[in-house]
Assembly symmetry: C2
Homo-oligomer: 242 residues x 2
């Protein structure tokens, strides 16, 4: 199945939110839609998101979309600095008190705009995002009742991450408000979010229908088996083709 | 696909070990074989094992076998006493110093006898057992190089179980000797084996290729999703039909 990739911009007050929509080329109506949240210092069209989006389209006949997070991609200067120190812009992002609420509003505006097209089924919207995709995505999933299934993980309430500062408190408050079916992914040897904090976050998620898959390996080494499980979970929950 | 169910007995010194073998009716040679270890106060043909065995045959074209554990089923008087106190025979089983080594030898003798028939592929032998199926099965998997994939879980190094007494020490020693691919199942609200002890046991397993699936619920409430994952894991590892 061919994959159509279409850039879009959503305007919300002064914000111009850049996004990408992936759909089947021979698109039918009322498609399931997965929102892909990217990791820290990355952007909407990173390799992992692109591969995931294409697989949702090709294998399951679903649609996927992604936007740049605040100060990432087309919206700023944050980039991956490898082993070097984090950029001041990145550290600053986690010091500002409005980061979570702005991001929630960005995703909500994006979802409003896409659903207004009548191409997607509003009862079959999912969210996928690990690491910063959970740091920012968990509050969004907690706040957005139209998200009916979510994949979260590679994140926790404690650990040495520079972005940990202000969000543990927010996550403790928001995790019980996540009530949709959740698959939570843990990297057992994560050097950025520690094990106990990851388990504590899974525990705090309010959904009765939740499960956690744990794999050995560091933060960035999520295995193909987990990638497949995440995709198949959302396809099953949202009624994509098996 | 029709399922053939055949009782058998294996003799090992003074022991007469009762077992059941499940195979496809139109059996070919060199079948993958899964050894099913039953839970405490149960027996070889319990509902869960029977359903699992039939699914291995019907869905994957594989064979399965089970034997009664020491003092269980045809080999003794231990039965499920529900909410009542455990039988003295059951408590005694965990006080005896030879329980693990006897059970290892029983399974080894069973495997020797079955493989001698040339109906099974000795490179495609798996083990499945939760709860007491892990209490006894983990030392067996650690000791038996012919087991090339295992499903373990609903078990841990600590907790209020009456059978905990002597086996934590044995499990601490044997877990690092388990080196085959493992799927480890945890019930997040297990009232018999506590959470920390379950995570500790997963951590101690020596296999580099291991993963843990965690589901909310009590000890006995393993969900269908986990049952499917266990079966599909062994089928994939042992080359059954997908």
């Amino acid at each position: 199945m061919g994959v159509s990739e279409q850039p879009f911009y959503v305007t919300r007050g002064d914000e111009r939110i850049p996004g990408i929509l992936w759909t089947p080329e021979e698109s039918v109506s009322a498609l399931p839609l997965v929102i892909l949240g990217h990791g820290g210092k990355s952007e909407k069209r990173n390799t992992a998101s692109l591969a995931m989006a294409r697989r949702f389209v090709r294998r399951h006949g679903m649609a996927a979309c992604a936007i740049d997070a605040i100060d990432h991609g087309e919206r700023g200067s944050i980039v991956d600095t490898g082993d070097g120190p984090a950029q001041p812009e990145y550290i600053d992002l986690w010091k500002r008190s409005d980061t979570f609420d702005r991001m929630n509003a960005d995703w909500k505006a994006t979802l409003d705009a896409l659903l207004a097209s009548d191409r997607f089924d509003p009862r079959r919207v999912g969210y996928w995002g690990l690491s910063m995709g959970t740091v920012l995505g968990l509050p969004f999933v907690a706040s957005e009742p139209r998200v009916s299934a979510a994949v979260l993980g590679a994140c926790g309430l404690t650990g040495p991450s520079v972005i940990r500062g202000r969000f543990a408190e927010r996550h403790r408050a928001d995790a019980p408000r996540v009530t949709c079916p959740v698959l939570f992914i843990v990297q057992w040897d994560d050097e950025i979010f520690d094990r106990d904090g990851a388990l504590e976050l899974f525990d705090a998620i309010g959904s009765r229908d939740k499960r956690m898959h744990v794999h050995p390996g560091k933060h960035g080494a999520v295995p193909l088996e987990a990638v497949d499980a995440m995709r198949e979970f959302l396809a099953a929950q949202l009624g994509g083709k098996p």
